[in-house]
Assembly symmetry: C2
Homo-oligomer: 458 residues x 2
């Protein structure tokens, strides 16, 4: 049936786990714009970031030149607990769609954190430990990143303080308990334990919180706590670097079995999974060695790429973080409450923003009922219950495969299946009950968010 003589699931050998991360910035002609200081508007230097981030992670953040950065042995040992992750040939999905397309997915959900976030969490925890720190702070929205960092900190015996967006804290008690089982402290955000939290609570007494607000609290907490630093699960250059392990393994599996992808698809919230998955393929494209079609998929309710502005903006609501040049809906933008799951960040990775701006990748916005329809189709034949975030990529992979059915093209499609949906059953319940709704912000809605984007002239 297939032109590929490949196993259903391609598991590379442990020895095939890449020994270096790949830094796509090294091959970018137009480098991503640097983080800048909101007061001086000057690019942040190493020393500026030291109160917030671990030293080695700052070096990685600033390094636009080194293509391959070796993965320390302790991190590689941890990776062996759940990597290489499988590249799965979606034969049952192909059969269901009756398409000539060949569909593969890189599955990152087979670890307890349930997503790809663990790839960067273990690296960030390692560098914190190596620097002799006592602990780290972070924020979490849907909960994957908080879970991943809790696991990583338990492994390296670091303290971990998680600020969890209040609405998730209340609606996802199980996520909270997983983090507590791994020894993390979990505080609903906005809290009364930080200055910014108290301020937000005073101004918006009934707020259920947002990611941008939880980031502000976590950064404040890190800066004021002795022996602590802040860690972030997406958006940053360092995170995309760590996540390149996804793409490197995918490429190795493709090379081993002669699979040449035409289209590579990933969901995009802050960009960590998409950036990681496409990195080595994008490197080939940037170096003129091969060509691929890259598609970022985002929710229509939070359309940073497809309807956002490419501008310098704050990374957080409380404006305690530096500013990044990125596709943004404005740091005050909060997606409609009917939106399920993650991918609700107002901004986007600077690396991906630059690549998108330069026409090297495309973006699509999809509505959530059609996303859950794809999720259900996929779950029933492929046997994995996908996370709502990952299901955005499934939606577009199915759309592309159905196009091939019309045109007769035998394209090879790879998408990133970033995680599992076990903690997202409330959203599935809405879909099963037929009460899930879609929301597309009007131009007026977006204009309100755009209004808060500062007018930065460098």
């Amino acid at each position: 049936m297939s032109k590929f003589d490949v196993p259903y699931k391609i598991y590379l050998d442990e020895a095939d786990i890449p020994s270096s991360w790949y830094n796509v910035r090294a091959d970018m002609k137009n480098k991503p714009a640097p983080l800048i200081h909101p007061a001086t508007l000057k690019p942040l230097k190493f020393e500026d970031m030291q109160p917030i981030f671990c030293d080695e992670l700052i070096r990685q953040e600033l390094d636009n030149d080194t293509a391959y950065i070796p993965i320390p042995e302790e991190i590689l040992n941890f990776y062996k607990m759940y990597r290489p992750s499988p590249l799965v040939h979606a034969v049952f999905l192909e059969r269901l769609l009756d398409t000539p397309a060949h569909i593969f997915y890189k599955f990152e959900g087979n670890n307890t954190s349930g997503s790809h976030k663990l790839n960067s969490a273990i690296a960030q925890a390692y560098y914190a430990k190596k620097q002799g720190l006592k602990g780290v702070t972070t924020e979490t929205g849907a909960g994957q990143w908080g879970t991943a960092l809790s696991m990583a900190c338990a492994f390296f015996k670091l303290e971990c303080k998680v600020f969890m967006v209040k609405v998730s804290y209340e609606q996802k008690p199980f996520r909270r308990e997983v983090m507590r089982t791994y020894g993390a402290s979990v505080t609903p955000s906005p809290s009364m334990t930080t200055e910014i939290g108290r301020k937000i609570n005073a101004e918006h007494p009934n707020t259920t919180g947002s990611l941008g607000c939880a980031i502000s609290e976590a950064v404040e907490e890190a800066v004021k706590s002795e022996g602590y630093r802040y860690e972030l699960g997406s958006v940053l250059n360092q995170v995309l670097l760590h996540q390149s392990i996804i793409g490197l393994e995918t490429k190795a599996a493709c090379d081993k079995y002669g699979i040449k992808p035409d289209v590579i698809i990933g969901c995009a919230g802050g960009g960590s999974n998409l950036g990681g998955l496409i990195s080595p393929f994008m490197g080939e494209k940037l170096r003129g060695e091969a060509d691929y079609q890259f598609i970022a998929v985002e929710p229509a309710s939070c359309p940073s790429f497809t309807r956002g502005k490419f501008a310098y903006d704050f990374c957080d609501t409380g404006k305690v973080c530096p500013m990044a040049k990125m596709y943004t809906l404005g740091h005050d933008f909060i997606p409609s409450s009917n939106h399920a799951g993650g991918l609700r960040y107002h901004g986007m990775s600077s690396i991906l923003s630059q690549l998108y701006h330069d026409g090297l990748m495309e973006a699509r916005a999809v509505e959530q009922t059609s996303v859950f329809e794809a999720a259900e189709q996929f779950a029933r034949v492929e046997g994995i219950l996908p996370a709502p975030e990952s299901s955005h990529a499934i939606r577009v992979a199915i759309d592309e495969a159905l196009k091939c059915k019309e045109t007769g093209e035998e394209k090879t499609i790879i998408f990133g299946l970033t995680g599992t949906g076990y903690f997202d059953m409330t959203a599935y319940e809405k879909y099963n009950d037929g009460t899930m709704t879609d929301y597309i912000p009007s131009d007026d809605d977006l204009a309100k968010g755009f209004a808060c984007i500062p007018d930065v002239k460098l």
Copy 2:
């Protein structure tokens, strides 16, 4: 550090998935006692079971002689979606315990049903489809089996009616939604849709249900519905046959890497996982080719092996099922409500009961707070959040490894890690909060259950 030069995770190749199941009954000198008809006390014949079970599954149930039964190709293709499952070398647990013991675990949680139950579910759904049936009924307690059968039925486009123990239906809405996502109908038990359900509701208006009661309802529903049969996830000989895939893969991985287990440990509720894991090793022991120590681990709150009676008893509360000879606490026995997770069945597989009775395996009963203590230790170093059921096996594996630390013995321990705990966070929350309690039934408590065991003289 280790005497084994093995990868952290041993993944066999797809081609190494066993092509036959192994039927341990073929090598048992004392065969398990047959199911008998409660009225005639005569062994059930093929025709007696036809209204309840699929024909091919009855053949497997009755077959005490065929050692290897080929796995149909359609089932093998489904197995390829999540098998071979990894045999993991627990290097980080070994290091934590500072033990000379070598610890391995066979991980069956890496599929969406979250447990080993899928191994038998897909087989049972396949035979139902092959027989041209319209659908199947079943019961589920903790929810793993119901999820697994829903997935299997979605794959073969069969209807699936699940009777879910009422207390789980209410406390585990996410489990319910996973089943609904896979297209199953889920009814809280006792319901008002069956005669036995109405009877139980009338007699016990506030009952939160039990597994034995849900079994009665599912059987009644299957018998009265055109084109339906009943399917069961544990206890039966056919289920242990399907689950032998766990042990066969474990043995293949051991043989490939020269691992010779001294102790093999599994949790035991109805016995499906333990029976599957130990089958091929038990076969060697029965044939005098090798010796192993087998340990069944059960909750102290539901101690079928360690404190039950070896006798003919009903498999269900409503007494609509046949009688089986097994270690039983009495078909009216319901474990204390403080008991978390599964392993709450009053009886036990007839095969395992016979093996235990013949002194071929041991059993231990453990209390749940010590089980969750082991679960947390394991989760923090091995990166997998274990199901409460599986954590019973972890508890005894750790105990055995700590004994080795005292004696200096370099034993090799293998245990079955049957599943993940994502849907059991309410129990973890109790443990994290320090409000989890233990319960050991008194002799008087047990005497009440024993009183309902019929006095069968054959």
